[in-house]
């Protein structure tokens, strides 16, 4: 009896691996192996020579250098994270608002949806760099009215810098909302409309239904969007930190250059990003108590649905009678 069960389990696992295998092979060879190798390089002083790589073991020296001597990298890193917090919030809220608007009955909705999704083919292409250089990503009004000057004068530098960098790139930030809008909309479409009807009958207005029905139902989507957007912001070619890492990689021999240092910078960057994602996860998880509460009242929802159904039927019957 026991043997049979083990056999069943492993057979099931085998089938799982069959599905996983193609991706796993590609992933391990082209992502995992280079990733592990780059950890190895980050503990070395790497010199690229004609005969191959010349490596000397330096231990944690590269990491020590980054944090104690290299002023550029750590500053860019903290700038990136303070900027990202603000941009993430703007993107998440903006795309939610747009997605909810586009979920309403509206003439020409299809065109709007296409237009809002359109920037995705621009932001991940090489065209973006040229657009930024041409200044097409800043709203001219903001600069000519000196909004940035006001912000910098009014607020402490801790807040002012991310804010003014947000304003100067506001269009760019909005362009990043393409995928988040799409993901939110799939989420919105999945919400059962009878829930809204039931809550309306119970006297809730739109504002309350938003907080009690829409937002809890969208929580998984918010998490997906948060992760996607943060990773996108971090790995886009316009990122200062990425540019620095790239630059250092090909400057071996100079202080603070070389592949070893670049590798350790990349790891510091990836790990701090991972930390940020864990924080994001905790923020969305914090409200899990509420979600459980909603699941617990599944019966209530069912009852509400029944009520709504009955109300609708009555309306329909009433209407018919009225018509006759």
């Amino acid at each position: 009896m026991k043997k049979l069960r083990i056999g069943l389990v492993t057979r099931r696992e085998m089938k799982g691996y069959v599905f996983l295998l193609p991706w796993l092979v590609g992933f391990v060879t082209f992502f995992l192996v280079p990733l592990v190798q780059s950890v190895w390089y980050s503990w070395h002083d790497v010199k690229v020579t004609a005969t191959g790589l010349k490596m000397t073991w330096v231990g944690w020296e590269n990491y020590r250098y980054i944090f104690q001597q290299d002023t550029v990298f750590t500053e860019q890193l903290t700038n990136f994270f303070t900027d990202s917090v603000l941009r993430l919030a703007v993107i998440l809220v903006f795309s939610l608002v747009i997605a909810m608007m586009l979920n309403q009955p509206l003439k020409g909705k299809g065109v709007f949806r296409t237009l809002f999704f359109l920037p995705i083919i621009v932001v991940s292409g090489p065209v973006l760099e040229r657009l930024v250089n041409e200044g097409a990503t800043a709203v001219p009004l903001i600069e000519s009215y000196g909004v940035n000057g006001i912000v910098e004068a009014m607020l402490p530098p801790m807040l002012a810098r991310p804010l003014s960098s947000l304003f100067s790139q506001i269009i760019l930030v909005l362009w990043y909302s393409g995928v988040p809008i799409l993901i939110y909309m799939t989420g919105l479409q999945k919400i059962d409309s009878t829930l809204y009807e039931a809550s309306m009958i119970d006297g809730a207005n739109g504002w309350i239904s938003f907080w009690k029905i829409t937002l809890p139902a969208l929580r998984p989507m918010i998490l997906i969007n948060g992760v996607y957007t943060l990773v996108f912001l971090a790995t886009t070619g316009l990122n200062e930190v990425m540019a620095t890492i790239n630059d250092r990689m090909f400057r071996s021999g100079e202080p603070g250059g070389g592949y070893g240092i670049a590798s350790s910078m990349a790891w510091v960057y990836a790990l701090s990003l991972g930390l940020a994602l864990i924080v994001l996860l905790l923020i969305t998880k914090e409200r899990k108590g509420k979600q459980i509460a909603i699941q617990k009242t599944g019966e209530q929802i069912a009852i509400e649905r029944m009520h709504a159904e009955r109300a609708r039927n009555m309306k329909r019957k009433g209407g018919k009678k009225h018509g006759r």
């Binding site: 696992e13 193609p22 082209f30 479409q189």
Partner: protein
Amino acid sequence: MRKTRFNPDHFHPNQIPMYLVLVPLAIFMAVPIVFIINHAFKPIEELFAFPPRFLVENPVLDNFTRLARQASAGGISISRYIFNSLIVTVAVVFLSMVMSSMAAFALSKLRFRAKSTLMEINNLAMMFVPIAVIIPRYLLVDNLGMINTYFAHILPLVAMPVGMFLVKQFTDQVPDSLIEAAIVDGAGYFKVYHKIILPMIKPALATVAILAFQSVWNNTETSTMYTNKESMRTLTFYMSTLSSNTNSVAGQGMAAASSLIMFLPNLILFILCQSKVMNTMAHSGIK
């Protein structure tokens, strides 16, 4: 309450405030496309005009004719680059869709060991700066003997961690009861994947197709790093050398023209894919 038809039949005054918000924002969203198209038709004086002008005033085809002349002067015909680009792009888009959806199905719905660990490793890889693995990847491609082959263009891009993440999150939303019901009715895992999972995650797959297309079509890195024969390089690489090798004034115009040419396939694929995305979303069976 909600209509099944996507666009409502009648215009309603209630919608006016929404238009007031949506129309200006939609214009912002369309700005880059308008810019790219206008830029390609600008004569040289307008390209270098200061302050830079957004819209073209006297559209000319100069940039395109110069680009064509430059292209026909090269040693290898341009059709070879186009052929390379097509093979590589089709292969990467197709393989990445198949692989990520299969793996997402396994990681999300099937039971086996090391499942969550694999997902965490994928998420870590997603965060890692792609540039930092260039040298190890080069050594790997070299050791596998793939320099100057199509494999060198295709394989490094196929396992896309971000795509995998998106598809996995979508697959999680497919109700387990649906799969259980199918299995009770005698469907195998492959049938479940083919008949239930694939139709349900279409929006995510279309998104992955667009992302994968972006990453391969615009990629010059595989051409510069993993090939040293001109005949194995892609159109994108060729276009970028055309505009950077010649003198800077004429180069600017050619760069503008070539970026429009390189951008058009993006736009076409987007238009094809997005209607698919929107339609499946409007009628998706996931509730």
